[in-house]
């Protein structure tokens, strides 16, 4: 007992003293990157990290100083993420926080942002609670739930093979899933799309065996499924649905864009999933094509929308720091308002009124990929493009509503 305490104390003291405190010639500007690297969403987190790293490398310097990214694993657990944010800001002196995949983590950070006193830009959080949530909390990344719902409903209405179907709504049982399900159902009903279960099904995130749900869908007679799953579960569900012979008979519409590696893993079972997204590598314009190749050459992995919108979000943040002219939190926050970046998927503008981005989106369907340099077997084919104005929502000044 005594020996243990002695040893552990001496280890601790040694570690504390050895903890790096490098004196650099030119002090870099430190940015804290919070992404999940373990847990259910680890793959998405890794792609986000790639996108942000790539942006930092290409941007090179802000305010004449090198950018230094400090990456921390949130483990998709809000309390851990808050601890990590505190460490990044208090101990490592980060000037801004970026990243964050899940809404729960994003909201927990937003709650603590007054204490942390740095701007926080999320590149993935989809909750609509982020609109005007806090003067220092921003979104520039994946489409929000309301935007996704609008895009998907528009997409369904625009496609005859999707339009006259009854949709079974199945979501992951956590806040984003609930939000995505409810928004879709409300909008679909308004537009005359038939919903089988308005009291949508909430499946635990841990669900591995979807057979019960698939049997339920079979029993219901619905011929469409609207699903809101964490992205790496999309191919899992699609595969099991295909096993049960539902592929083609029941159309799948997804609230979240599946990652390319996940699609590749699912193989042919993942053909035929519809959904809106910021971007897919099928988007054909010089900026996009160029970005794809840069990404591929650096990371040798198929470019994903998680990577690209994290890249764009990071660019918006870096440009805002330059624009602010200092690393003062308030100045960066002010500079982020209304900033925009022309990237692989067009202009991405952060609204000056509600701090969340507006950009164009594409409706995609997954299918066998044509020849491509990335070796992808399945890709998200672009079917339609929806301009930012159509996706909304209207920009309005929202009051600071942390209690929501």
């Amino acid at each position: 007992m005594k020996r243990l305490i002695t040893i552990s104390l001496s280890i601790m003291i040694a570690v504390m003293f050895l903890a790096p405190c490098p004196v650099c010639a030119k002090k870099p500007v430190k940015i804290g990157v919070l992404v999940p690297l373990t847990g259910i969403a680890a793959q998405g987190g890794l792609e986000m990290k790639y996108g942000i790293e790539m942006a930092a490398q290409e941007k090179g310097t802000v305010l004449g100083s090198p950018i230094k990214l400090l990456v921390e694993d949130t483990q998709v657990k809000p309390p851990i993420a808050v601890s990590k944010a505190e460490k990044l800001v208090y101990k490592d002196d980060c000037k801004a926080l970026i990243g964050v995949l899940s809404s729960g983590v994003g909201l927990a950070l937003a709650k603590n942002i007054d204490k942390l006193n740095v701007p926080f830009l999320s590149t993935h959080v989809m909750t609509t609670k982020f609109y005007g949530l806090h003067p220092m909390v921003f979104r520039s990344g994946q489409l929000a739930n309301d935007q996704t719902a609008v895009g998907n409903v528009k997409g369904i209405l625009a496609r005859p093979d999707l339009k006259n179907r009854t949709y079974y709504v199945l979501v992951h049982d956590y806040s984003w899933g609930h939000d995505a399900g409810e928004r879709f159902i409300a909008l679909a009903k308004k537009n005359g799309i038939k919903i089988y279960n308005e009291n949508y099904d909430k499946a635990p995130i841990k669900t591995k065996d979807w057979s019960s749900y698939i049997s339920k869908i079979k029993a219901s007679g619905a011929d469409g499924v609207y699903m809101a799953f964490i992205t790496n579960v999309i191919p899992v569900f699609a595969k099991q649905a295909a096993d049960f012979g539902l592929q083609g008979k029941v159309k799948l519409v997804s609230a979240a864009a599946p990652g390319p590696l996940e699609l590749a893993a699912g193989g042919t079972a993942c053909h035929g999933i519809f959904g809106v997204s910021d971007w897919s590598w099928d988007v054909n314009n010089p900026t996009s094509d160029d970005w794809e190749m840069r990404f591929w050459n650096t990371y040798k992995t198929i470019p994903s929308d998680a990577a690209v919108h994290s890249y764009v979000g990071a660019m918006n943040l870096f440009n805002a720091i330059d624009k602010a002219g200092s690393t003062d939190a308030k100045a960066i926050a002010a500079a982020l308002k209304g900033i925009s970046y022309d990237g692989p998927y067009g202009t991405v503008r952060i609204s000056a009124k509600d701090n969340c981005m507006r950009n164009d989106a594409v409706l995609t369907e997954t299918m066998a990929a044509p020849d491509n340099p990335f070796g992808a077997k399945v890709y998200m084919k672009v079917l339609d493009t929806f301009p930012a104005a159509e996706l909304g929502p209207p920009e309005q000044e929202t009051h600071d509503d942390t209690k929501g």
Binding site: D173, P204, K206, A219, K239, F244, G266
Partner: protein
């Protein structure tokens, strides 16, 4: 799409498949516990290792059925190394040490899986004839799920034969009751303990490669299966093989029904079931340590 009969068939088969996977994992855990009083917290991680090894074997072009044989053996070898290096030296110490030790092992194996295979989900490619569905009693049911069910029955049958008909099996059964007397008959108990641990690991690996094509392979599959199998063995009675069979069926059926009819509270119901059973039968349905 399918009528009432179809739904009933669907639910029945779904719950049997789910129960079957629970059973193979839980039986492995119970064999180890029943014979050497070691509760292996790393069992779930070994299940995941089995699935990943199976995936790698199939992806490298090996026949699925060959992988089905080789993957559990590889997990068994890993189990053997673990047993000889860290478990065996701890055997004389109290159970808490092995609990914590295997808890550390779980972290280590989970981390290693992510290091080797990454985070993305993996699927085991099945041979062509196992794909597709088979119409039975008003529903279409996936062929390979039916074959999985068959496989699980075969494995349980083989295990039963092994325990009842072979000399090693008889030694194992005897060791679960009066180990002291077994050693007096000239059996080295340290080999029995080793064998029990390795057999548990082989079962975990087997369950892994069986469950791989059913669901998906990801680094979290182990931890979740560990909790489910704890629920099963606790309800059945620690170390009780028959108890595990009954409990696996019970949990599988209850979970499937709950998922089908009252989706939201499925897991709560399973936990309440466990709490109620334990409150009235603190030693589980069949009592502890009935190794038969």
């Amino acid at each position: 799409m399918s009528g009432t009969l179809g739904i009933i068939v669907d639910i029945t088969l779904n719950s049997l498949v789910l129960s079957g996977v629970f059973l193979i994992v839980a039986i492995g855990l119970n064999i180890t516990y029943g014979l050497s009083r070691i509760m292996n917290m790393g069992h779930g991680a070994l299940y995941a290792v089995g699935a990943y090894v199976g995936f790698s074997l199939v992806a490298s072009g090996l026949n699925f059925f060959a992988a089905l044989l080789i993957a559990p053996l590889i997990v068994g070898v890993i189990g053997l190394i673990i047993e000889r290096t860290i478990i065996a030296p701890m055997r004389k110490r109290s159970m808490a040490y092995t609990l914590i030790l295997t808890y550390g092992l779980m972290f280590f194996l989970d981390g290693s899986i992510k290091y080797i295979w990454g985070n993305k989900p993996r699927f085991i490619e099945l041979p062509g004839f196992m794909q597709g569905t088979l119409p039975i009693l008003g529903t279409d049911y996936p062929v390979f799920r039916l074959m999985t069910l068959l496989l699980i029955i075969l494995i349980m049958g083989a295990l039963m034969l092994f325990l009842n008909k072979t000399k090693i099996g008889i030694i194992l059964r005897a060791s679960s009751t009066i180990p002291e007397m077994v050693s007096c008959l000239g059996v080295n108990m340290s080999y029995v303990h080793m064998g029990a641990f390795v057999l548990g690991c082989v079962m975990a690996g087997l369950a892994g490669i069986i469950a791989g094509p059913l669901t998906t392979i990801d680094p979290l599959m182990g931890g979740e299966m560990l909790i489910s199998s704890f629920v099963v063995i606790v309800i059945g009675g620690l170390g009780s093989l028959r108890g595990a069979v009954i409990a696996a069926l019970l949990v599988g059926v209850v979970q499937t029904l709950a998922e089908f009819f009252i989706t939201d509270l499925a897991m709560v119901i399973v936990y309440i079931l466990m709490a109620v059973i334990l409150a009235f039968m603190p030693r589980g349905l069949l009592g502890e340590g009935k190794f038969e």
